[in-house]
Point group: C2
Chain length 246, copies 2
């Protein structure tokens, strides 16, 4: 608990946390990848996860705002552009809306955020809280779930094409993340390794990664609870139509 | 949407929201009151709900801190004393720990908050956020779930004595709330009626009450998901022992 970890040891510990807690292990993802989700369940997932997507550039703007290092700010700004888009690219949020439309939802229904599960909202809002109130080490390290995203997204693309071919038009979000996530996560990992110069700061980084894994996991728990098993959406949340209904 | 509601109309609307959304309707409470929860499930409930209880006086201190009216502050301070205790009374948090002990947990295991479900934490933290960042109308109105607490607590006391007689020593928390909650909720209701002097402010009060109902409901969703059905506590959370184990 006292000696500073080497870069390799810290990286190994972060990997261990991801292996144990990242949402690639969540049973809802297993159902998704086995082709066992209905269209309504995929709608519920896309609609709820939109709330997370919509808060990502806000989260990144908070991190940019907290840094006094112009090089860091420039590097991190890329993430805001990736999600909000620019003259050349529509951005990740627009791609997520296209994914939601591919499931059969309207853009307006999703973008209004009216039917988001409260528990998804609470989890995502706690992410915004973490990057504002935590230390800068925690704010940056909470993004390190991206270290594990590549493998999950590659698998998902494969399995979605196999099991839900009607979603093909909505998959550009994931396609794009295959190249964006690795460069972002390597930058963040290097930054954490360089700036966590005490064992306590290294522990902060590990704690923030665990907290972020909890935030992702809790979203899927809430979606599963409401739309798979036992299947009880709370008052006011998105309701699935019975299968077969138009 | 435009005309100011009368005191009676506003009260009726708040009652309607409670009837629709307060957690007296949650299936986990139905199981509890039918005697269908195991000791382990009651432990999980007591341990997780402790996190909510522990944040109540913090929430109330934020509300006291926001008011420039000494009469209001004095009246609201009672709530802090009710939970934190004073020379004469141990307070509601101590009584909740006694409840948790009656289920067979140790005081330390509960008070450490180490095994709280992340989703419970997120929901409760969003309550703290609401009373800090919302308007004063919202902060006060979010306490109005207490209007509906009396009936639920009276029923619970009855049913707990019937179905879980071994918890008798832990029931003083609820016994005490039977008298505390009604006087608090009447004060808050009168304050909201007097201070919500536009329809927009009345809508704020209704919105805050709905948000608070969501916060209570989401806690039970998370507990049910982890410990009843499908029964998947996330990594790091409280684990039930198999029934029959000591």
């Amino acid at each position: 608990m006292s000696a500073l970890l080497s870069a390799e040891e810290l990286t190994r510990e972060l990997d261990r946390i991801g292996e144990e807690r990242y949402h690639h292990r969540h049973p809802f993802h297993a159902l998704m990848h086995e082709g066992k989700l209905s269209r309504g369940q995929l709608q519920a997932w896309a609609l709820n996860r939109y709330y997370y997507q919509s808060r990502i550039p806000i989260k990144d703007a908070f991190i940019v705002a907290r840094s006094t290092d112009a090089d860091f700010r420039r590097a991190w700004r890329k993430r805001i552009v990736d999600h909000d888009g620019d003259g050349k690219d529509a951005g990740g949020i627009a791609r997520w809306l296209a994914l939601a439309e591919a499931t059969g939802l309207t853009r307006e229904q999703v973008a209004s955020e009216r039917q988001v599960l409260p528990a998804v909202r609470f989890a995502v809002d706690s992410y915004l809280d973490l990057v504002q109130r935590g230390t800068m080490i925690e704010a940056v390290a909470s993004s390190l779930t991206e270290l594990f995203a590549g493998k999950l997204i590659a698998l998902r693309l494969d399995r979605m094409r196999e099991h839900y071919p009607w979603m093909e038009n909505g998959l550009s979000y994931f396609q794009k993340r295959l190249t964006q996530a690795p460069e972002d996560s390597q930058f963040a990992l290097q930054w954490v390794i360089e700036h966590a110069q005490s064992r306590a700061q290294q522990e902060q980084a590990c704690h923030a990664l665990r907290a972020k894994c909890d935030i992702l996991w809790a979203q899927l728990d809430a979606i599963h609870f409401a739309y798979v098993e036992p299947g009880w959406p709370p008052p006011g949340a998105f309701q699935m139509r019975a299968e077969g209904q138009a």
